[in-house]
């Protein structure tokens, strides 16, 4: 907020072709990696966190380069980040409730 004046003569930033190509390649490699870890290595309990971590890295790449957040001002980064923050709030309190409810065996004396 607060950037209301004087952006008259800026030029649009052009993201170089090579960066876009490399990001695309990285995303494909990470896709292969996520399939590989899930289907050909048995990670047990780690499976979900690992898959989620890889997805997170991919998401960061898309956001930074394809969506161009890396070249944006802080304003739009804060706006987009706010969405994720309040999503985390929703998840946190729902989980807090469900995980601290009395287990059924404690209900019956």
């Amino acid at each position: 907020m607060g950037q209301n004046a004087n952006h008259g003569h800026e030029e649009h930033h052009i993201i170089p072709f090579s960066i876009l190509r490399n990001v695309c390649l990285a995303l494909l490699v990470l896709t292969i990696l996520t399939v590989f870890t899930a289907k050909f290595i048995h990670l047990g309990v780690l499976a979900t966190p690992v898959a989620f971590l890889i997805a997170f890295v991919k998401a960061m790449l898309v956001m930074a380069y394809f969506m161009g957040l890396k070249y944006e001002g802080n304003g739009n980064r804060i706006i987009f980040g706010t969405g994720f923050f309040f999503l985390a709030v929703l998840a946190f309190f729902c989980v807090l409730d469900i995980w601290t409810r009395l287990p059924v065996q404690d209900i019956f004396s």
Partner: protein, 327 residues
């Protein structure tokens, strides 16, 4: 913290007797007094708060009334010390109230060891109380005085909420899981039970009575059976216990279903499809066992559960005998 709560309690108890309790229902258990003390403390601090805010507003309004159209007002933009005070004092007060409320809530939620356990089954629109002896009572809830009672509650259909105002306790009854509640009734007597979670057409008729009785009487009640009643009296018991009461009145008032008063023998009973019937044994029997086959004009289909297989022949007869008595 404890000494502080104790102090607050003393303050509250003294003020409470004055006026604070006036609106609350009669106290039926120890926790209810704790709740009332907290309530009176809040009532008085709230009253004080309102006096400051509203009184201040009226005072300023009178004192600083516009005199001329050219009044000069001072330019006061802020005052850190004041602003800090009126943020900090409410914060402290709110936190005290929170801690106090937490303590009361905790006492409500910690189930005592070796409490007397009763199962509560809620459904549209009645309460079934199931005792370990095998006795089932509907809409009449008998508990012994002075003994902690723990309720394990489940719902057959939608959300309900079990509320005894005099005990200051309330808990939603959630289908698919069990919720619990406990209390220890201090005084014998009858207490009102409400359903407080909206549950459909007869939500406001989903009432029950709690009867707190001395322990020996309670034991006797647990053993009691239905011998020695007339057929119509048995029917009246069924009217209450099977939940007919939620939708059918016996005083002529219209609820979800038609009233039973004066029903027996009436001719020209008009159906939704236009035909007209005479109310006899067979009509009542059909209406109970298969209620949606013929709906009385002005009422909705699909609300009454079919009783086919749920009532024995004896019970049907008893109900019909009861309806006959409702002139």
């Amino acid at each position: 913290m404890n000494w502080f709560l104790a102090l607050m309690n003393t303050v509250a108890v003294n003020t409470a007797s004055a006026a604070g309790k006036s609106f609350m229902p009669p106290v039926g258990t120890e926790i209810a007094s704790d709740v009332d003390n907290l309530y009176s403390f809040l009532l008085w601090t709230s009253f004080l708060g309102c006096v400051i805010l509203i009184g201040g507003m009226i005072f300023f309004a009178v004192k600083y009334k516009r005199r001329t159209d050219n009044d000069k007002t001072p330019y006061i933009s802020h005052n850190m010390a004041l602003e800090f005070l009126w943020s900090f004092i409410p914060l402290v007060l709110f936190l005290v109230v929170f801690a106090w409320g937490w303590k009361v809530y905790h006492d409500m939620r910690v189930m005592p060891e070796n409490a007397f356990e009763i199962h509560v089954q809620a459904k549209q629109w009645q309460w079934d109380f199931m005792y370990k002896s095998g006795k089932v009572s509907t809409n009449d809830f008998f508990v012994p005085v002075g003994i902690p009672v723990k309720l394990v509650m489940a719902s057959e259909d939608v959300l309900h909420s079990f509320y005894i105002p005099s005990m200051r306790i309330k808990q939603d009854v959630v289908p698919g899981r069990y919720t619990t509640l406990w209390f220890k009734a201090d005084k014998t007597g009858d207490y009102q039970i409400f359903c407080t979670e909206y549950c459909g057409a007869a939500h406001s008729a989903m009432l029950a009575k709690m009867h707190v009785v001395p322990a020996p009487d309670f034991e006797k009640w647990l053993q009691e059976n239905e011998e020695g009643l007339t057929l119509a009296q048995k029917g009246e018991k069924l009217y209450n216990s099977k939940g007919c009461i939620a939708c059918h009145s016996t005083d002529g008032s219209v609820k979800v279903g038609p009233s039973w008063k004066g029903l027996w023998g009436s001719t020209g009973h008009t159906m939704a499809n236009g035909k007209s019937v005479t109310v006899d044994e067979n009509y009542i029997r059909e209406s109970i066992l298969n209620p949606n086959a013929d709906i009385v004009k002005g009422f909705s289909a699909g609300l009454m559960p079919a009783q086919q297989g749920l009532l024995t022949e004896d019970q049907l007869t008893a109900l019909i005998e009861y309806i006959k008595t409702l002139k």
